[in-house]
Every structure is written in structure tokens, then in C-alpha cells.
Symmetry: C2
Subunit: 204 residues, 2 copies
């Protein structure tokens, strides 16, 4: 239910970004065009332009919207687990779902955008880098806290482990989505379990 302070313009913008994100999962964030959005939303191209003003602003809008969705669909469910080793397991499951078993189909918009934008010099690249760095910092921080609390293996370094976690997820997406490897999840899980050690029993 939209809050009373949500304007019609804000609702339209949110609807455009949701459609844009769905398209970006398959076409890549740079593949979403005002034409494809107009067709999918029924809005006019000029109406769409009035919300963003430039292609790179549209890309940035979609990426920021994707980050909000990622928080809702991946981070929030994981953070409900108070024990940080269990939180890592929940995060792993939700993160795999996000990029390979999402109800709207397609893949991880961030992984796609990374290779689309890494050689460009656009504001949307800056948006992507900001989102990804923030996420790596968040992940490193929670891993360090888990080690300090004795809930993750002693000696694990937050930033190193966050880097490795990200690589495990990228490796899974590649093996699952491109290669169709039926062992993709088992392989990713084996690496993940080696990184974070065994999960505690329920009494843990």
C-alpha cells in the first residue's frame, strides 16, 4: 500500500524501475532502452525521459533499485539469523537464489553490469562501484564481528573472506547459468563450507 505522501510521479518512477530491473536481469542494465521500457509499461517515451533525463541516469536508477531489492530479498532474511555463522548460510542460499533462481528469471544484474560497465567512464559505473564497495564493506564488517564473537573461525579476515564469498557466488552463477553444471551448487557449497567452517548445532 502506497503511503499517502507517495506522489503519483514517485509511484510511476518506482514502476518504471521495477520493469527496468526485470529487463536488466536478461538484457543487462545497458541493454534496457527507453523504447523497451515504453513498450513494457505503456508509458510514452517522452514521459519516461522526464523521469531520468539520460541513459546513464536510468542505469543508475535501475542499479540503486536493484540494491534495494537485494537488501529486501537477500540481506534482510539473512540478518534475521542472529548467529553469524547461520547468517552466512542463509545469506549464501538467498544470494544464489537472487542471481540464478529468481522468480522473474534472468541473472544477477550486478554481475552483468560489472562486465558491461567496467571499461566505461559513466556515472552509472560510479553507482555500481559505490553499491558493490558498500556491500563488500558490510559483508567484511559482519564477518569480523562473527570472528570477534567466536561465531566464525578464528583468524578469518573480514575483507579477505568477503572477497572469497563474492568469488564463490560468481563461480556458481557461471557454472549454473552458463555451463548448466548440475554440480554447480554443490561445488559452491563445498568452497563456502571450507571458508566458514561447520555450522553450529541448534543448541550452538
Amino acid at each position: 500500500m502506497a503511503s499517502e505522501t507517495t506522489t503519483k510521479g514517485e509511484r510511476t518512477r518506482a514502476q518504471i524501475l521495477e520493469t527496468g530491473l526485470e529487463q536488466a536481469r536478461t538484457l543487462g542494465v545497458t541493454g534496457v532502452t527507453v523504447g523497451s521500457l515504453a513498450e513494457a509499461t505503456g508509458l510514452s517515451k517522452s514521459g519516461l525521459w522526464s523521469h531520468f533525463g539520460s541513459k546513464t541516469a536510468l542505469e543508475s536508477g535501475i542499479l540503486d533499485h536493484a540494491a534495494e531489492r537485494f537488501t529486501e530479498e537477500v540481506v534482510r532474511p539473512a540478518w534475521r539469523e542472529k548467529h553469524i555463522r547461520r547468517r552466512m548460510s542463509r545469506l549464501f542460499d538467498c544470494w544464489l537464489d537472487w542471481g540464478a533462481r529468481h522468480p522473474s528469471g534472468g541473472g544477477c544484474v550486478f554481475v552483468g553490469a560489472a562486465t558491461e560497465l567496467d571499461d566505461r567512464d559513466t556515472p552509472s559505473r560510479d553507482t555500481l562501484v559505490r553499491i558493490q564497495r558498500q556491500w563488500m564493506e558490510t559483508l567484511a564488517g559482519v564477518i569480523d564481528r562473527g570472528v570477534a564473537r567466536g561465531e566464525l573461525p578464528a583468524g578469518l579476515d573480514g575483507r579477505q573472506a568477503a572477497h572469497e564469498f563474492y568469488a564463490i557466488v560468481m563461480g556458481f552463477y557461471h557454472a549454473d547459468r552458463l555451463l548448466g553444471d548440475p554440480e554447480a551448487e554443490a561445488r559452491a557449497r563445498a568452497t563456502f563450507d571450507r571458508l566458514f567452517g561447520p555450522e553450529p548445532g541448534d543448541e550452538g
Copy 2:
């Protein structure tokens, strides 16, 4: 020096593919167009079409050409090392260079193509999958041989380790090229060393 049996058509095709690969490193393999190739090679668009006939055939040609280059620049130097643990180290170095420090700039054409093509149903996707599967099989085979010879840690599984090696490289490209993380290589190397164990001394 071209062999006497190399026709002019074959030489032109090779020149187109080399230019196409350079462009694909930055634009992605689906971003290379007959127009961009015509401009860079000085050939006519109709001349270019006569070599490939379709966009997806051009993409497949570039990917197969990239696989040849990968063999020359990454696999061949690594395979000169007879001891398989040392071969893995050389492979690691060359593979990082391939996608992040290549003289022609840009990134790994295969990693880019994976996210460009994974949701498409085109012959060029089949080409990419064939190349990637073959490479994973080759890598798994040499790792298994290294274990059998006692040159890699006992208990290492070839396919699991090949999957992890690929993920390590992808994680490096992402942290280095997108995030500009100065620790990217050190982080990848730490994971790699944990996977394959210490390198033997020169007397090994």
C-alpha cells in the same frame, strides 16, 4: 610469416577476428558490429558480411579466435612447466594477465560473454559453452594428474578444484577491474595458495 597455403581470404578473416577480439575486450562480444569492424579494418561492410554471414557467426568466430589466443598466451606458457604445482602458479599469473593486464586493454572476453550470452539462445552461446566446458575439463584433468603424481595435495578433486580456480580468477577480475581494489591480486593469490598448497622448492 603466412604459410604458402594461407589464402588471402584466410588472412583477411584472421585480421578481422583479431580486430574483433580487441573490440570485444572492451565492448563485449555482442557489442562488436560490422560497422565498428569496417571502420577499424578499412574493409567494406559487404566484404565483412561475406566472411561471416550473420552476427552470431561473427560472435562465434571471435570466441573461437579468443580461445586460440588464450591457448597461446595462457595455456602454452603454463604447460612449459613440467611440475604441475608450478604449472598451476604459471597458469594463475598468465590468466590474471589475460583478463586484467592485457596489452590491448579491456577485460576477459569469456567472462564478459558469459553474462552477455547466458540468457540468449544463439549458436554463439553454444560456442562459448563448448569452449568453457573444454577448458574446465582440461583443467580438471591436469589437476587430477598432478594429484596422482603427488605434485598437488592429496585428496584434491580435479573438477572441484577447476571450478574453484575459475571462481578465484573471476573474483580477481571483479575486484581489480571494477572495484579498483589494490588488494585484489593478493586476495586471489591467498585463495589460490590455500587451494593448491605451497609451491615446491626448486629441488622439488
